[in-house]
C-alpha cells in the first residue's frame, strides 16, 4: 500500500518549492511577508497569511524531507537528516542534550504529537508577572479550538504498555493522570513519530499548514540559512541568506536576498535569538537571548516483569500533573510526568553506560519502561533560565546552568518517578544518573537518590522544548516583542515561535505555539491587508 507523497504530487501540480542546494546563481525573492523557519510558528503563520491573500515566502535551513524518505522507519536516517546537529545538539558545556528538529516542518516533523493547551496558571502568570495582554484563558480559547480542529487534535485513549506503566502507577498511588491529546489523523499506532511519520498521519506542519500555504501561492525555499536582517531607522529592509550544499550544512557560496514588507522570525528559541544577535537587532534593555527556558528533563528506568517494547505504539498518551502546580505557578519547582519511547540509539544515550552494564541494559530493552519529568523552569527568580550567544561563525550556543532550586526539583522528580515505577510493579529501577545503580525496592532506591550528587555530567539531562529568549511583554524593558509578537524596536518584524514565551509552558509546547501564532498571525494579516 503505497502512501502518496504530498510533495511529489504538489510540486508536479505547480507548487513553488526551491531547494537551495540546486541554486547556482544569486537570487532575489520578493514577498509581502518573509517567514524564517517552518516549524510550529512558521508553518501556522504561512498558512494564515497565505489564506489572507498575502504573498508569502517561507525560508527553512533544513532540507525538505517527506514521507517518501520516512518509509524505512530508521533511527539513524532520522537522526542524521531530521534533527539539529544530527541529534547531537547540546548546551555549550555539553551537559544537556538538545533534541530539536531541523527540516521542513521543524520539530513538528519529529515530535511525539502531544498537544496541550497552555496551562491556565501559566497564562495567568504571564499576565500578572510579565505584563502580557490579550492571552488570557478566554482570549486563547477560540485559537486553541481553531488549531485543535485544524490539526485533528483528540485524546488518545489506547496507551501502549510503556504509557500504561505511568497510568497504572498513578492509579495505585492516587496521583492525577490524564490521557494526552494528539495531532493525528488516521494514526497507525506504530510509534515512529520521532523519525518522520511514514504514513502522513501526524498533522505536522509538513503535511498540514505548509501544503495549504503552497496551494495558495506561497514559496518554500529549503536548505537556505538566513544569516542576517538588514535594518535602519526602526525598519527591517531585507534579509540575506546563504544557500547550503546537499549536505545541508556547508554554504555553497550562492546568496539569497529577500525583500518583504514584513518579516517573521520563526526559527525556534535557539535559532531566532541567534538570527537577531547576528543582525545586531536593537536590544536596549539586554533582553535578547536571555531567560531561555528548556523544561530540563530527567529520567528513571524501570525493568518490568511484562513485555513493554517501548519502541512500539503511540509514544506519548498518558501524563501526570500531580506534581506540577502544588504551589500554584511559583513555589518549589513543578514537573510534569510523561514517558519517552525508547529505540536502541536514543536508548543508548539515555542509559549512558558502557561495557557489561550497557550490554545488559540494552538486552533488557523489551522489558524496559522509562518515565521522564519535564521541569517547569523560569517561573521564579531562582530559575533564571539560560542564554543564547554566538560562536565565532555566528552559529548559536546555549548556556544553561542548573541552580540549587532546579536541582532540588530534580531530586524530587527522581523520587516521584521511582516511587511510581515500583507502584506500577517494576522489578528493578534506576535513575538516569551516572552514580545510580539498579535497586529492587522503593526504600533502597530512595536512600540511593538522597545520596546522589546533583551535578552536571552526573545526572543525565535532556531537553526537547526550547522557549524564551525573545520574550513578549508590553513593557519594552522586559521583553523583546509585545504581546502580539511585534518587535519593540523594529516596526515590521514579528517573532512567532516558542522564543516569545516569558516562562516555560509546563507542558509540551507545540499547541501553545500553534494557538498563539494563529492569534497573532491573524491580527498581523488584517493589519497588512489594511
Amino acid at each position: 500500500m503505497a502512501i502518496p507523497d504530498i510533495y511529489t504530487e504538489g510540486i508536479a501540480s505547480g507548487w513553488k518549492v526551491i531547494d537551495g542546494a540546486t541554486l547556482r546563481a544569486p537570487q532575489t525573492l520578493e514577498a509581502d511577508v518573509a517567514i524564517i523557519g517552518s516549524g510550529a510558528g512558521g508553518g501556522v503563520a504561512a498558512e494564515i497569511l497565505s489564506l489572507a491573500g498575502l504573498k508569502v515566502v517561507l525560508l527553512e535551513e533544513g532540507a525538505l524531507r517527506t514521507s517518501a524518505s520516512f518509509k524505512d522507519m530508521d533511527e539513524l536516517r532520522a537522526m542524521s537528516q531530521l534533527y539539529q546537529e544530527a541529534g547531537a545538539r547540546a548546551t555549550s558545556d555539553g551537559a544537556i542534550a538538545v533534541l530539536q528538529g531541523r527540516s521542513v516542518g521543524g520539530s513538528t516533523t519529529v515530535n511525539w504529537t502531544s498537544s496541550f493547551r497552555t496551562p491556565p496558571l501559566t497564562l495567568k502568570h504571564w499576565a500578572e508577572q510579565h505584563e502580557v495582554v490579550g492571552h488570557s484563558v478566554d482570549d486563547m480559547k477560540p485559537w486553541f479550538e481553531k488549531m485543535e480542529q485544524r490539526l485533528n487534535v483528540a485524546l488518545w485513549e489506547a496507551p501502549n504498555a510503556n504509557n500504561h506503566v505511568l497510568k497504572r502507577g498513578c492509579e495505585k498511588l492516587g496521583w492525577e493522570a490524564h490521557a494526552i491529546p494528539r495531532n493525528v489523523k488516521g494514526c497507525w499506532n506504530t510509534g515512529y513519530c520521532g523519525f518522520g511519520c511514514p504514513v502522513n498521519a501526524k498533522q505536522s506542519m509538513l503535511v498540514s499548514t505548509i501544503p495549504v500555504a503552497l496551494q495558495n501561492g506561497a514559496t518554500l525555499v529549503h536548505r537556505v540559512r538566513v544569516r542576517q536582517l538588514q535594518h535602519a531607522n526602526g525598519q527591517v529592509s531585507g534579509a540575506t541568506g546563504e544557500a547550503l550544499r546537499n549536505d545541508g550544512l556547508t554554504p555553497s557560496g550562492v546568496t539569497l536576498t529577500i525583500k518583504a514588507r514584513h518579516f517573521i522570525a520563526a526559527g525556534g528559541a535557539i535559532n531566532t535569538p541567534a538570527l537577531l544577535l547576528r543582525s545586531g537587532a536593537p536590544d536596549p534593555h539586554e533582553r535578547l537571548g536571555r531567560h531561555t527556558l528548556i523544561h530540563p528533563v530527567v529520567l528513571s528506568l524501570a525493568q518490568m516483569p511484562e513485555q513493554i517494547d517501548p519502541f512500539y505504539g503511540a509514544p506519548q498518551s498518558i501524563a501526570s500533573d500531580h506534581f506540577q502546580w502544588l504551589n500554584g505557578a511559583a513555589g518549589p519547582m513543578g514537573y510534569k510526568l510523561e514517558v519517552p519511547p525508547i529505540f536502541p540509539g536514543i536508548g543508548a544515550g539515555v542509559l549512558n553506560t558502557f561495557g557489561k552494564a550497557l550490554q545488559q541494559e540494552a538486552a533488557a530493552l523489551p522489558h524496559t519502561s522509562a518515565v521522564l519529568a519535564l521541569l517547569r523552569d523560569g517561573f521564579v527568580e531562582q530559575s533564571p533560565g539560560g542564554r543564547v550567544r554566538l560562536a565565532d561563525d555566528g552559529s548559536p550556543m546555549l548556556d544553561y546552568d542548573l541552580s540549587d532550586y532546579v536541582w532540588e526539583g530534580v531530586k524530587r522528580a527522581y523520587l516521584s518517578m521511582v516511587e511510581l515505577q515500583f507502584a506500577a510493579g517494576a522489578q528493578r529501577v534506576r535513575t538516569a544518573h551516572v552514580d545510580a545503580s539498579y535497586q529492587t525496592s522503593w526504600d533502597a532506591a530512595r536512600r540511593q537518590i538522597e545520596a546522589l550528587p546533583m551535578q552536571k555530567f552526573r545526572a543525565t539531562l535532556f531537553t526537547a522544548h526550547l522557549m524564551g529568549g525573545c520574550a513578549m511583554s508590553q513593557n519594552p524593558k522586559r521583553g523583546v516583542v509585545d504581546s502580539r509578537g511585534r518587535h519593540h524596536q523594529l516596526g515590521n518584524l514579528s517573532v512567532m515561535d516558542g522564543s516569545v514565551f516569558p516562562t516555560s509552558i509546563g507542558a509540551n509546547p507545540q499547541l501553545s505555539i500553534f494557538g498563539l501564532t494563529a492569534q497573532n498571525a491573524t491580527a498581523l494579516g488584517k493589519e497588512l491587508r489594511g
Partner: protein
C-alpha cells in the same frame, strides 16, 4: 555526596596533586601539550573519506568501540571491522554536523588525547591500539568517576558517541531486543 575514593580521583596511579595541573580544563593542558610535543600537519587533517576525524581520533574510537560495546566480541574479525567502520562513519557524520561551539570542545578533547605524554598522564594508556578492552574501560571509569567536571564531560561524550554509533546501526538490533521496524506497517508501506 558521592563517595570520594583515591582510585576514582587519580589517573594512571598519579596522586591527585599532580592531576590537578591538567584538571582545570582541556585548554590549558592542550596549550601545554602542543608546546611540548607539537603536531604534524597530516595528523591534524581528517582521514580520507572522513569530514572530522583525524588519524589519532580513529585510533581512539577504534580502541573504545569494543570497550564500550562488548557485543563486538561476538562478531568474527571481518564482521567486527565492518561494524567498527560503520560506527566510525556515524561518529564522523555526527561530529561534522555539530555546530562550531561543540566542535571546538570535542576537537580540544581529541587533540589532547592525541598527544602521547598527555594521553598517558590523563588516561593511563600508551598507544590506543595496544590498550585492550580492560585498560580502555579503566580509563573511561576513572574519567567518569573523577571529581573534575571536565573529565566527566569528556568521559560522557566518548561513551555516548561510541554507544549510540553502534545502537543506531541495524546490526545492533538483536542485542537490544528490537525486532526492527514494526513489521505489519513496514511491509504495508513498502509493498
Amino acid at each position: 555526596m558521592r563517595p570520594e575514593s583515591a582510585a576514582g580521583d587519580s589517573v594512571a596511579g598519579l596522586p591527585r596533586r599532580d592531576f590537578l595541573k591538567v584538571g582545570v580544563g582541556f585548554s590549558i593542558a592542550l596549550t601545554l601539550g602542543t608546546a611540548i610535543v607539537g603536531c604534524s600537519d597530516s595528523a591534524k587533517a581528517p582521514v580520507q573519506g572522513f569530514a572530522f576525524l583525524h588519524p589519532g581520533d580513529v585510533e581512539l574510537f577504534s580502541a573504545l568501540a569494543p570497550a564500550v560495546v562488548l557485543e563486538l566480541a561476538n562478531f568474527d574479525e571481518a564482521k567486527r571491522k565492518l561494524v567498527v567502520g560503520d560506527m566510525l562513519r556515524v561518529i564522523d557524520g555526527t561530529l561534522a554536523a555539530m555546530a562550531l561551539g561543540s566542535q571546538k570542545e570535542v576537537r580540544k578533547l581529541l587533540d589532547l588525547l592525541a598527544i602521547a605524554p598527555l594521553r598517558y598522564v590523563l588516561t593511563g594508556v600508551g598507544a590506543w591500539n595496544e590498550a585492550g578492552v580492560e585498560k580502555m574501560q579503566a580509563f573511561i571509569e576513572r574519567w567518569r568517576g573523577s571529581r573534575f567536571g571536565t573529565l566527566n564531560a569528556g568521559g560522557n561524550v566518548l561513551v555516548k558517541l561510541s554507544a549510540t554509533s553502534f545502537y543506531l546501526l541495524p546490526v545492533s538490533w538483536p542485542s537490544a531486543g528490537y525486532p526492527g521496524p514494526l513489521a505489519y506497517a513496514f511491509n504495508a508501506i513498502n509493498s
